[in-house]
Each structure stands twice: as structure tokens, then as C-alpha cells.
Amino acid sequence: MKIIYVEQDRCLACRNCERVCSFQRAGGFRQENTNIWVHIDLDARSIFTMTCLQCESAICMEVCPATALQRNPETKAVTVNEHQCVGCKMCIAACPFGCLHFENLRQVAVKCDLCDGDPACVKTCMAGALHYADINELAQRKRRKIDLKLSKHPFFLQGLFPK
């Protein structure tokens, strides 16, 4: 299954993803309307970016009393059927990551739906930190990176028992 994953060590906090996400849904920008968010901590000098991971057993889907949260058969994204949503906000309370929010205008819950398989945030991530792919690709990427760094390390360059 393809999801949007973040390669945290490539994110420079340009915030393009937040903006296009909000733009395409609401025309304008409101921080609380984005389904992806970049947290910049100036005290810790850290950057952390997060979006919905489309959980396999999604708690938002499980708690929804109106079965408004459904899995898209094609993209496998957990999506909100806005006609069925009763606005009870249970899903928002249940999601441990804060990946759903309440749209006050339409009075429904909103979450990342992977833009029907062509996520706008990924296309705008010029750092190449966002990917739309199988999560195991992230593991591969991490392995490649650590290989690159370790292979330069004297320990490996000189063999296990340097002269």
C-alpha cells in the first residue's frame, strides 16, 4: 500500500506542503485546515513534519458511529464520506496523532485522502522529503543512508582490526 511518508532528515521547513494542502481544499490558508503540518521548534532548533499514516486498523474508522470513515478501495486511504458524517467528532478525539480536524464551515470531519492517489503535498516538496510510496521504501532509504555514512567510517574503511 502506498502512503505519504516523511523523510524527516530531508525536511527544511519551507511549509509548501501545508500551503498547497490548505489551498486545494479551502482556496485560502488556515493552519488548522491543513492535513499535513510542519512543526518548527526554535528553542530546540528542530523540524518535524507529520501527516496521516492511513493506519491498517484505523481507530478513527473504528470509533465512527456513522460509518462515515471508509477505506478507499483503490488508494486504500481512510476517507471521510461527508454525506454520512454526523459531525460527532469522535474520530478527532480518537486519532492519537491529531490527523483529523473539524471543518467548521461544512461541519464535518476532514482528513488526508491522499488526493485520490496524486497527493499535492508530495508534488510540491522540492526538498524531496515527502514521498508517496510503500513504507518499506522508507526503510530502504534509511538503510542506504546509513550504509553511505558507515562505509566512510575508518572502522569499515580499515577493516575490523586496523593496523
Binding site: 521547513a13 519551507c14 489551498f23 522540492m126 524531496g128
Partner: protein
């Protein structure tokens, strides 16, 4: 609006020009309407990604405020729509009579960022030269030229963009790449994945500093002291490219002697960067040379000591051995196409190009006149009067320093023609306003020198009555009688063919390659077999060219004005020009969805400064300099974002022009650049009730 299209339902690849990065994009048309813009997959610049500004080209193209008909200012000051024929006729007549009465040089042309560079710039240069005037002005007077000169005076060339992805160490000075050069982000991340270190030096802590291994926050305008400190560190520890210095350098002894005073402690005193950090950066350079990318942003050039600071940085790059490397000071080659400019055919140097007497290097190296001095000529205080100006997609009434004077000067012209998309503050001063075409309405050749790639853009739309720059210069030239000779081509395709003729690339071939074509194979370290294009043919650590002009032979560090001439009644230092993520200078601020992110201007302050003045977040204050005053709201930033005593205001707001405060006449002696980042100012509270009715915006986002 009525639109004629080349294809009704189609996806057309071209290049984005919402900023100068020029990412490759796909424009989606449905029934003649642009419905979407998506990234083009296979271009090496943006590699299938694009920024939100680029997508907003739709908002620009269909903007309800776009000017679609020529406007003429009537005696009562109002604009009236006229036909394009009438506009061109009347403008040409007036240009002709000014030429007859006062001489051709009393007419100038000013090309703005909104028009673009390369071919758009060359059209403007060609037109004004063919008309008989040397007076070509551009936005480069306050951006780019300073860095171009700083590097060229040392190495003879400048390639603005190293390939960061292959560097072991990246040092950024005064730049915020995630906003101003988005594709750099990928290169930084690629380099860091391979273990590279990133050093960010900036008076303002931008998020990119969170991504850096070392962040140093100098006082504005003191980067030169740091560069000299690093030069000293390399020389003292004998960790520099000795072979390069022996064979290819003039003036090493002079800089070595001058560098001695820049001990880490002295650098700390000048720049505020801790001595230990200076040494740490020095050690990083030693450890990682020669694969180091030094990159200076516009932050370094907007000072009256800018060029020397940049020269010092270029020297540092040479000493570290980065010359000619992919990751360093790579010397690109030109394609070898025909040039539209006429400098080789007609010399107008004897006509007294404006500013060439005060800033000879600017005219010698860039063939560019000095836009700040032009204001004096418009006001009748020059060697001759500047009577008319044709401005295309430039907005000096907002972006040039000393707004009050700029407006006075532009208003004094006998003829001001402005070709633009919108009725900007500059256009409002014009006698004639012509509707400008966006980048989607022209086909032109683009270069990416660092990759030696050439691209052709596609003309995607044509709005009847709205003509592009080529047609503007073509039609004016024909009406003025030099069209046959200098603008003989009927279409842009003909011009493009003429440019390409001496090369082995054809227009058709170029059109088939939206991913761009490499026009010449890249050769690194050319300086080993070929003299560098400086007067001496060597790397000029000391420049006899500058010495002969009475300027500093080596790039002496001159402390910035706010330190040199500290004034008690102006205790703060104002920097301007830090980027807003979705604007591009004064462009894009009328795109409504962008305004939900950047709703209004503010002055950014350190919390301690605000507390000391008893100023609240969002309160309206008055900022004053020796030049003028501006009323603006306060945004109190995180305490690490700015140093105490340093404040920042964005430079492009039409409604809150910070250039009311900036100096036009405190210039860098080499580039003529104005002092925009380091202006002594005062902050005064205004009547507190003005703040009460304002609904505070949540974040004052940058």
C-alpha cells in the same frame, strides 16, 4: 476574458517564471482554459516538483485586476482606455520629439524582474541602444549585480549556483534558499545524506538554520569581517591551496598581510559571532576542502560595503581550492548563440551612461546604468536631463530606495510609459500604461549556465490586445524608423531561430526537448588550461583595475554604516528584504489566497526590545530613519530569530513601502548598491488606541 489558444485541450510543457528559478511545468488546458499547472517530470532543475507560487500562475493569468487595454492619463489625472495603435503612435511620437529636442540619451529603458532576464533583458538593451541611448536600467541595480561584480573582480566570472549536492561542506551567507531557491533544498538534503555539513550565516534565523550544523548570527553588514577571519585562519594554519596561489593568483601577499588583524577575537568584536564559532567554521573548511560550496545571497550585497565583502568570500573560495569544481566556483561556458545586444556594434560610452562616472565598474562589467542616480537626472540634478522612461514590469516606486524621491522623480518625467500586468504604484504615475503579457504568452530561450542547459518556452496563450515584450519593442522600433534594421523578425520564432543559427541546435529540436538540452559538455577546472577572464588573466586577490579607479585594491573590510556612524537617536538597525514565502519581491501580493498567509506588513522585533519600549505584539508603531517614516504593526518574534537591536521589514509591500526609510545615496563605491540592510532607525509608539480595533492575526507568518 477572450483568449486565443494554440491548443484547446492539451498538456503543454514550458518553464515557470513566477520566480527566477524557472522550474519546468506542465500547463493543462481544457477548452482553451488553463485548468491546472503541474510539475514537469524530467527537468534537472526541479525534478518533478514545484512550489505553490508556480501553481498560482493561473491566479496571475486570470487575475481580475489585470490590465487588458492600453491606458492613457488624461489631463484630469484619470486613465482612459485607448487602442494599442494609438498608444504606440503617441508614445513613439513623444520619444522622437524628446530625442530631437534633447538628444537620445534623455530617454531610458528600465527592465524589471517581472519581465525576466536573458532574452527579455536583451530586447530592452537592444531597443534603447538602437534608439541611441546608453541608458539601460534594471532591477539588477539592487539585486545580483553586487554579487556578480564581487565574484567577477576576483575570478573574472560568476556562476551563481554551485552544485551543492556533491559538496562536503556548504556555507550559506545571507540567504534563505527554501524560499528564494527552492530546488537548493533537494541538493542540501542530498549532500547531508552523504554526510556533508551545513553552515548558515545570517542575521535572521530562518527555519533553514534549524537544518544547519552551525548557525551564526552576525550583525548586518559584517560578513566581510568573518570572511577575512576565515582567510586568516587558512593562511595562518597553512591550510590553503598553495599551488593555486603560486601559479594563478596576483596579490596574495597583500591579502595575507591585511588578513592578520582579523583574529577570531577581532571578528567577534566586529560581527558579534563568537570567536570560538569563527574557529569552528575555519576548522570545518580545513577539514572539508576542496569540496566546499560557498554561497552568498542578496543579503551580502545590499550594503555600502557589499562588493568587498563578496570579494573576500570569493578569495576564501579560491584559497579553499573550490575553483572550477562542480561543488564550487565552477566557470560555465556560454552557448555561443547570437547576441541581441548591440554593445559590439555601437558604442555609446561617450554618451555618458548614467552612473558610469560614479560607478565605472558597474558600467564596465555589466553595461548597466545606475537607477538611483537616474532619479537625480530625472529631477534635473544630473549632467543632462532624463526626460522619458519606458519601464517594463518593474515597480521602482515600491522597490527602489527612498520612495519619496523615486515618486517625485518619476512624476517629473515628460513621458513615463509603464508596461505591466497591474496598475502598480509605478504604473499609476505613468502617462501611458500598456498591458503586459505573462510568461505564458511568449516563447523565449532560457539558459541554466551552471548546468549548461538551454530551454525553449512555449507560448501557451494569447489574449487579443495584450502583446508581449518582443512585440512592444518591435512595434515601437518600427514606428521610430529603426525597426527594419534592428527588429526585422516578424515573430518570436524568427528571433529564436536567428539566435540559435551559429549553434548546432535547431529551434525544432529545442522545442522537442522540454527537459532542456546540454549545449556544451561541462569542463571543470578550466583555469588550468585557460586564462581566467580578468584583466591580468589571473585570480585577482588584489585588483589593479580597481586601484586605477581609486578604489580599494584588496577587498578591505569597512564596518557598516550603522556601526561606523552609530547615532544615538537611531538606536535600531533595520534590515529589509528577508523573503516572504509566497511573494517574489513586489510580485504576487495581489493573489488573494496568498494574502491569507501574508495578510499585512509588520516590523519584526526581538521580545526584549519590545518589552523595553513597552510595545505589544500587533501594536502600531512609527519607524523613522534619516530618510523618512513608516507606520507599521509590530510582530514580536522568537528571541533567537533576530539579535537584540535588529529589526526586519519585508521590502515588497505596496501599501507599506519600507523603502520610505532606505538610503538611495549611501552606495557601495564599486557596484553603486544602496544600503538596504543596515539602516539606523528609531521606533516610536503611536497613540495606543490605533492598535485596539485591530484583530490580531495569529502567526505573522514569514
Amino acid at each position: 476574458m477572450k483568449v486565443a489558444t494554440n491548443a484547446s485541450t492539451k498538456i503543454l510543457p514550458t518553464l515557470c517564471r513566477m520566480c527566477e528559478t524557472r522550474c519546468a511545468i506542465n500547463v493543462h488546458l481544457k477548452d482553451d482554459v488553463i485548468v491546472n499547472i503541474t510539475p514537469f517530470k524530467n527537468h534537472p532543475v526541479n525534478r518533478g516538483r514545484m512550489c505553490p507560487r508556480g501553481i498560482a500562475a493561473i491566479d496571475l493569468f486570470y487575475h481580475p485586476e489585470r490590465i487588458l487595454k492600453p491606458l492613457k492619463k488624461m489631463p484630469d489625472g484619470r486613465f482612459q482606455e485607448i487602442s494599442r495603435e494609438q498608444a504606440i503612435d503617441e508614445i513613439a511620437d513623444q520619444l522622437q520629439s524628446i530625442k530631437a529636442g534633447h538628444g537620445a540619451r534623455c530617454v531610458g529603458v528600465w527592465k524589471g524582474e517581472g519581465a525576466g532576464f536573458y532574452q527579455q533583458e536583451d530586447y530592452a538593451r537592444r531597443f534603447v541602444h538602437a534608439f541611441g541611448s546608453p541608458n539601460y536600467f534594471s532591477n539588477d541595480s539592487a539585486c545580483y549585480n553586487g554579487r556578480y561584480l564581487g565574484h567577477s573582480l576576483v575570478t573574472g566570472f560568476w556562476n551563481p549556483f554551485p552544485d551543492f549536492s556533491v559538496a562536503d561542506l556548504i556555507l550559506l551567507f545571507g540567504t534563505n534558499p527554501p524560499i528564494c531557491h527552492p530546488p537548493f533544498m533537494r541538493e542540501f538534503a542530498d549532500a547531508k545524506e552523504k554526510g556533508a555539513k551545513l553552515v548558515v550565516i545570517d542575521p535572521r534565523l530562518n527555519p533553514v538554520a534549524c537544518y544547519a550544523d552551525v548557525f551564526a548570527q552576525p550583525y548586518p553588514g559584517t560578513d566581510g569581517a568573518l570572511c577575512w577571519g576565515l582567510i586568516r585562519h587558512l593562511i595562518e594554519t597553512k591550510n590553503y591551496d598553495t599551488q593555486l596561489v603560486e601559479q594563478y593568483v596576483v596579490g596574495f601577499e597583500k591579502i595575507a598581510a591585511y588578513a592578520q588583524r582579523f583574529t577570531p577575537e577581532y571578528v567577534e568584536k566586529q560581527s558579534g559571532i563568537y570567536a570560538g564559532v569563527v574557529e569552528e567554521i575555519g576548522q570545518l573548511i580545513i577539514k572539508n576542502r576542496p569540496r566546499i560550496s560557498f554561497f552568498a545571497g542578496a543579503g551580502l550585497e545590499h550594503h555600502e560595503n557589499g562588493v568587498n565583502n563578496i570579494r573576500a568570500l570569493a578569495i576564501l573560495g579560491c584559497l579553499a581550492g573550490t575553483l572550477g569544481l562542480k561543488s564550487g566556483l565552477f566557470w560555465p561556458e556560454e552557448m555561443g548563440g547570437r547576441k541581441l545586444t548591440l554593445y559590439d556594434q555601437i558604442s555609446l560610452e561617450s554618451e555618458g551612461p548614467i552612473g558610469a562616472d560614479k560607478f565605472p565598474a558597474l558600467y564596465d562589467l555589466r553595461k548597466e546604468c545606475h537607477s538611483m542616480t537616474a532619479m537625480d537626472y530625472m529631477l534635473g540634478k544630473g549632467a543632462y536631463p532624463l526626460k522619458a522612461m519606458v519601464v517594463t514590469a518593474a515597480n521602482p516606486a515600491v522597490t527602489n530606495p527612498n520612495t519619496t524621491k523615486v515618486i517625485e522623480a518619476l512624476s517629473a518625467l515628460d513621458l513615463l510609459v509603464v508596461n505591466d500586468f497591474f496598475l502598480t504604484p509605478t504604473a499609476k504615475l505613468a502617462h501611458y500604461v500598456l498591458p503586459a503579457a505573462t510568461f505564458l504568452e511568449r516563447s523565449e530561450i532560457h539558459y541554466f549556465p551552471n548546468k549548461q542547459i538551454v530551454n525553449l518556452t512555449a507560448k501557451i496563450q494569447h489574449i487579443p490586445g495584450v502583446e508581449n515584450e518582443y512585440r512592444l519593442w518591435h512595434d515601437l522600433a518600427h514606428r521610430l524608423g529603426f525597426g527594419e534594421k534592428y527588429f526585422p523578425w516578424n515573430s518570436e520564432a524568427d528571433v529564436n531561430r536567428w539566435i540559435l543559427e551559429p549553434t548546432d541546435i535547431t529551434l525544432e529540436e529545442l522545442a522537442r526537448h522540454p527537459e532542456g538540452l546540454v549545449y556544451k559538455p561541462i569542463r571543470y577546472q578550466k583555469f588550468k588550461n585557460q586564462l581566467v577572464p580578468t584583466p591580468s588573466g589571473k585570480l585577482e586577490f588584489a585588483s589593479s583595475y580597481l586601484k586605477n579607479l581609486g578604489l580599494s585594491e584588496i577587498p578591505e573590510y569597512i564596518p557598516p554604516y550603522h556601526i561606523r556612524c552609530a547615532k544615538e537617536n537611531y538606536p535600531f538597525v533595520l534590515t529589509t528584504g528577508a523573503r516572504k514565502s509566497l511573494f517574489y519581491h513586489s510580485r504576487h501580493q495581489n493573489i488573494p489566497r496568498f494574502r491569507t498567509i501574508h495578510p499585512e506588513a509588520f516590523v519584526e522585533m526581538h521580545p526584549d526590545d519590545a518589552a523595553q519600549l513597552n510595545i505589544q505584539h500587533n501594536e502600531m508603531v512609527r519607524v523613522s530613519s534619516e530618510i523618512g517614516t513608516l507606520d507599521i504593526r509590530v510582530c514580536i518574534r522568537h528571541r533567537s530569530e533576530l539579535r537584540k537591536g535588529v529589526i526586519e521589514i519585508y521590502h515588497g509591500w505596496e501599501q507599506w513601502p519600507v523603502n520610505l526609510l532606505t538610503y538611495d545615496a549611501l552606495n557601495d563605491p564599486i557596484s553603486g548598491f544602496p544600503l538596504l540592510k543596515g539602516v539606523p532607525v528609531r521606533i516610536d509608539k503611536i497613540d495606543a488606541s490605533t492598535s485596539a480595533e485591530h484583530q490580531p492575526d495569529a502567526a505573522c507568518t514569514t
